[in-house]
């Protein structure tokens, strides 16, 4: 039987797992690492590098090395998150024709799904080399709070990478599946997932193979990267004060600072103090300057304390969505590299009044869960069932710019909900159904998923016609919206396609282009095998 691979496509690192002989295992890459940096680079001589190779040359080639595209994928160029990324990125982010952010390196423009596809393809290759056979099917994880457009783009990335994406599942859910694998006790579990770029909390209930997501909440723009930014900003300020030099405009210096900050942050998880040494970081008339700074755990904690406290607000919201108190949670699972930080662990322990579970590897658990879900989908005799939910509310825009939610967030899928609407003017002959996703009561503050017009309404006084609007989400999270005039039986519907993503032609074009490229890449391997 063909394997289904589970891919944790992370902001900073990605990880891939499969189920082998009934047991999940993470597949190490060629270098022996179980995680692969989500980085892509084009070198001066035009070579394309992914993962560790890309990371290794990032400092000397920072302008042409891409990282953290997960923070951009599925967003519009004008979104504040994208603008913030532009400030911190040594590589060029430009406005694409669909108002999407695109990445320009080595004179070539890439869409975000394309960059993600390159990383997914690398993960696919890792498994294929390990198994010695082709794999096609994959389950890919995304942050629970990713919206429809972000999920659709991730799916597109899978397609470009030559994968059939069976399902996009939420990272915390995957973590819970991994934790619950082969366990048969009934438990309520909280997943605290602080990754490189996103923060998610999910509360799940497990009972004899059924995993039900009770609630999920999060922030798609909060993660370890923000901790790094705080350290970088701190170092920049100190350097400015002591040396009088502003390093903000120096992309290479910024990349070195970022690397050093990440390393220092990791060091401080096991030590009280660490030394940051960056010789020759800058130079002016009086000669080269070096950055040498001691950073204590205490300083780091004061720099990021508010961020950590902020995550607990999200945990509280999630608990209240699940209609549970802190005491009802029987197990807390920490996911994501950033949860190694003692301050995070202490905050979570204090909040829940109990220590988090230690049995899972926060870097690998998500990929394992994805593989488990993939296996349970294709296997016939599996005893596992995931009852997943919609992360964001769905509804339509109504008179006065309001948002009427039809499917509340945290609704189990597949689901169907309907509601009656009516006209707002006398003799109104058509209504426009604008399908939105989000939590704001103001329509314009939510994401527009699609729109259509239902016409042919019989002339009558306002408020008299009955328009029955139904939302249907299938198990794959695909949203269809139907509107029916109950008087005439006239019906209109759409299957929602996220806006701002690539068209199928564009995807096909990229796939073809990559195929050309892949032939080049495989040649040396084949030569080696022939030897």
């Amino acid at each position: 039987m063909n394997h289904v691979i589970g891919i944790d496509l992370g902001t900073t690192n990605s990880c891939v797992a499969i189920i082998e002989n009934g047991q999940p295992s993470v597949i190490p890459n060629a270098g022996g690492y179980k995680t692969t940096p989500s980085m892509f680079a084009i070198t001066q001589d035009g070579k394309r590098l992914v993962g560790h190779l890309a990371k290794r040359q990032a400092i000397t080639n920072s302008k042409d090395t891409v990282f953290a595209t997960k923070r951009l994928i599925g967003r519009r160029f004008d979104a504040p998150e994208v603008q913030k990324s532009i400030d911190f990125s040594p590589f060029q982010i430009v406005r694409g024709p669909n108002d999407d952010p695109r990445i320009e390196i080595a004179g070539k423009t890439f869409t975000c799904p394309e960059i993600s596809a390159l990383i997914l393809r690398e993960m696919k290759r890792v498994v294929e080399e390990y198994l010695g056979e082709h794999v096609h099917d994959a389950v890919i994880t995304v942050p629970a709070y990713f919206n429809d457009a972000q999920r659709q783009c991730t799916k597109d990335a899978g397609k470009i990478a030559g994968l059939e994406v069976l399902r996009i599942i939420n990272e915390p859910t995957a973590a819970a599946l991994a934790y619950g694998f082969n366990k048969h006790n009934d438990e309520k579990v909280a997943i605290y997932d602080l990754g490189g770029g996103t923060f998610d909390v999910s509360i799940l209930e497990m009972s004899d193979g059924v995993v039900e997501v009770l609630a999920t909440a999060g922030n798609t723009f909060l993660g370890g990267e923000d901790f790094d930014h705080r350290i970088v900003a701190h170092l920049l300020e100190i350097f400015q004060q002591s040396e009088g030099i502003d390093l903000k405009g120096d992309t290479m210096a910024l990349q070195r600072l970022k690397d050093a900050a990440e390393k220092a942050k990791c060091d401080l998880s096991s030590r009280e103090t660490t030394e940051i040494n960056l010789p020759f970081i800058a130079s002016d008339a009086s000669g080269p300057r070096h950055l040498s700074q001691e950073l204590t755990r205490e300083t780091l904690e004061s720099l990021v304390g508010d961020v950590v406290r902020g995550t607990l607000k999200t945990v509280e919201q999630c608990l209240s969505d699940a209609d549970l108190t802190v005491g009802a949670i029987e197990q807390i699972i920490l996911v994501g590299g950033q949860t190694r930080m003692p301050l995070v662990q202490a905050a979570v322990t204090e909040f829940f009044g109990k220590r988090p579970h230690k049995g899972v590897n926060p870097d690998e658990v998500v990929a394992i869960g994805a593989a488990i879900q993939g296996e349970s989908l294709v296997s016939e005799n599996d005893n596992l069932l995931l009852l997943d939910v919609t992360p964001l509310s769905l509804g339509i825009a109504t008179f006065g710019g309001h948002f009427a939610k039809l499917i509340e967030r945290n609704t189990t899928v597949p689901a169907r909900k309907s509601h009656l609407f009516t006209t707002t003017r006398d003799n109104q002959s058509a209504v426009k159904i604008r399908v939105l996703q989000g939590e704001s009561e103001t329509a314009s503050e939510n994401d527009l998923l699609g729109e259509f017009v239902l016409g042919g309404i019989r002339p009558s006084r306002k408020g008299e016609p009955e328009i029955d609007v139904s939302f249907d989400i299938d198990a794959n999270g695909i949203v269809s919206v139907f509107a029916r005039d109950t008087a005439t039986g006239k019906e209109q519907s759409i299957t929602v396609n996220a806006t701002g993503t690539l068209s199928s032609e564009e995807i096909q074009h990229i796939i073809e282009e990559n195929e050309l490229y892949e032939v080049q890449l495989k040649q040396p391997n084949e030569v080696e095998r022939k030897k």
């Binding site: 069976l166 209930e205 009972s207 004899d208 193979g209 059924v210 039900e212 349970s376 989908l377 294709v378 005893n383 069932l385 995931l386 009852l387 189990t412 597949p414 689901a415 169907r416 299938d474 198990a475």
Partner: protein, 397 residues
């Protein structure tokens, strides 16, 4: 079926509505409508005979008639080769045509899905297979167990044919049941609805508490039927009200009465009905009086008396009408008892009218009740001393 079937022990047989039959288009008496609404493919003839307080023969007659009309049918008709003993799943055999062994789904699961799908109209707790008063834990357990059987992910990427949609329909209903019953607020609402749908059945014999509970669930199954009836009621009511606005009172009253028959629990219809009815009564009375006048012209006094008497039912407090009816009864029909009754009513309604008193006195006199006649004639003269007729009558006594 019917009495004959009952004699053969066929009381356990379970009728169900014929596929595609819409009972709301039939013209039914309230009793028939009530009985038909109880036929749900799960209730046996015996139970049907016991509920609603209808005579057994009547129940049998209705059922017989509907079988002949093709409105209802028995799946386990002895004439057909397949016969189930009591307790067999009703309608199981009708699934055979829908089962497709070439699908990537075992026949047993296909059958299970089809069976479950036919019961999607049951009350929510029955869908989950839990007691009405089951606690949240039991509800959740049932939900998980059913999810394992019906969640579309269990059959991911398999060739399911029409079963893909069926599974999704089943799961959505299971989910709906779980969501509604696991939340105390929505659960209370569900139970109120169940109880409300039970209200029309209260006309029947007082049931034991177990029977009441059984009926509660049976009626729950009928929620959908009731919804259809409610919709029907709404259209009747709306056409009734538009007739009312057009001052077609009789038509309005007829429509609203139908609306109430289809949705007896609706208070708004009943309130509206009293207005509509008053208008309709007035209208009816007017028509009858007009007809009565016509009969008088034709010197058809007996018919006129009958028409006025009928008009009085709709206008009982009309003194003038009472007195006219009294006179006709006295002079044309000779029914002095009725004449006295109407005249007395007129005097009661309008006690200061001398002419009415005098008429009552004259009727008493005709009946030979002299002292009564004297009393009324004196009273008439007291009210109107110039009433010559009264004084003549009094003198003749």
């Amino acid at each position: 079926m019917s009495a004959k079937g009952g004699a053969q022990g066929g009381e356990d047989r379970v009728p169900r509505l014929a596929p595609g039959c819409d009972p709301t288009v039939l013209s039914l008496s309230p009793a028939e409508g009530y009985l038909l609404s109880r036929i749900d493919g799960m209730t046996s003839c015996k139970t049907l005979q016991q509920i609603g307080g209808l005579p057994v023969e009547e129940v049998d007659r209705y059922i017989d008639g509907w079988v002949k009309q093709g409105v209802i049918l028995f799946d386990d008709d002895p004439a057909s080769p397949a016969h189930h003993g009591p307790g067999a799943v009703p309608g199981a055999d009708s699934f055979s045509s829908q089962i497709d062994p070439s699908l990537d789904l075992t026949v047993a699961i296909q059958r299970k899905v089809l069976e479950f799908e036919t019961g999607l109209d049951r009350p929510y707790h029955e869908i989950l297979g839990v007691a009405v008063d089951a606690d949240v834990k039991a509800i959740k357990k049932a939900y998980f167990a059913l999810s394992k059987q019906f969640h579309p992910d269990r059959y991911f990427r398999r060739n399911l044919g029409p079963f893909a949609e069926r599974l999704e329909r089943c799961f959505k209903k299971i989910l709906e049941a779980y969501e509604l019953l696991s939340d105390p607020a929505t659960r209370a609402e569900v139970q109120r609805e169940l109880a409300a749908s039970e209200a029309p059945a209260k006309a029947g014999a007082a049931p034991s508490s177990l029977a009441a509970r059984k009926r509660l669930s049976r009626l729950g199954r009928q929620l959908k039927v009731f919804e259809g009836r409610k919709r029907k009621a709404k259209t009747f009511f709306e056409s009734g009200m538009s007739a009312f606005r057009a001052e077609r009172w009789l038509e309005a009253a007829g429509s609203v009465r139908l609306a109430i028959a289809f949705d007896p629990g609706n208070q708004a219809y009943k309130e509206a009905f009293s207005d509509v009815q008053r208008k309709a009564h007035e209208e009816r009375a007017k028509v009858l009086i007009k007809q009565g006048d016509g009969a008088l012209e034709m010197r058809n006094y007996r018919e006129a008396a009958g028409l006025l008497e009928e008009a009085l039912q709709f206008r009982p407090f009309d003194a003038e009408l009472n007195i006219r009816a009294a006179r006709l009864q006295w002079q044309a029909v000779g029914d002095l008892r009725k004449a006295k009754e109407f005249a007395a009513a007129a005097c009661e309604i309008d006690p200061t009218n001398a002419a009415h008193r005098r008429t009552l006195g004259q009727i008493f006199k005709a009946a030979g009740l002299k002292s009564n006649a004297r009393r009324e004639l004196e009273a008439a003269l007291k009210l109107d001393p110039k009433d010559a007729e009264a004084s003549v009558e009094l003198k003749s006594l």
